[in-house]
Symmetry: C2
Subunit: 110 residues, 2 copies
DNA sequence: TTTTTCGTCAACCGTTTGGTTAAGTGTTGT
DNA sequence: ACAACACTTAACCAAACGGTTGACGAAAAA
């Protein structure tokens, strides 16, 4: 019923999930460590991670009792392609991203 | 409460709204004409257009009794920047977009 | 072995979403 | 003046969302 692109964009529409993705950009993390900086329950974060997994934006691998979360950048390609088509086909540079990340973290990450 | 990026991604998460954007890529359109190809009420399309407007993805200008809808590609820039950062910074080309649009229309557009 | 840690699941709750139909507001054409 | 057209709004509905708490299973540590 719902297309991959639906799930990708829906997953990205939540600031908590975007913050999680930004965290995972730095390193793979365990669920508990992902949850630590947020002011919400572990169960809530677990749900967010399920949504991100369903959207293909991350993968989760269980080793022992710890479940490791890993960014999967490829899932963003289709969505990115769709968006760029409306965005005048400008190439993106890292500086713009860094500035954006700072802004995002300044407001959203605890 | 909700950030611009939230609204942008949420607006893009619905296939009807993405199809509307693709239609508007070709030309400005009146609300009734936007609604024509879809199997849902005019009121429903009107709501979708409100959501797209709130997200800044389109603008609506009333001339007489007709309300014209116009694509606003700039609103996608911030979101696009965010996404590209996770997508290995690959430049996007038009061929990929065309292929994607065809696939999208084949499945989603009535 | 017992206890703590890691994480999910189930049930619940209030809000939002995506759709419907019906009524209402302007604008245009006859 | 009146009818048709172009939309929007209101009220309603079922389903999904985003969060909670509490119970639970599996793995690790004591």
């Amino acid at each position: 019923m719902s297309e991959p692109l639906d799930n990708t964009f829906a997953a990205l529409s939540d600031p908590t999930r975007r913050a999680i993705l930004a965290m995972l950009l730095e390193d793979d993390m365990a669920v508990t460590d992902v949850a630590e900086p947020f002011e919400m329950s572990l169960a809530a974060i677990s749900k967010h991670l399920t949504i991100l997994t369903r959207a293909g934006l991350i993968s989760q691998e269980k080793r022992g009792r710890v479940k490791w979360c890993k960014l999967e950048p490829d899932a963003l390609k289709a969505a990115s392609t769709w968006m760029q088509s409306f965005g005048q086909f400008e190439p993106v540079n890292l500086d713009a991203f860094e500035a954006f990340l700072n802004a995002e973290f300044g407001r959203e990450a605890p």
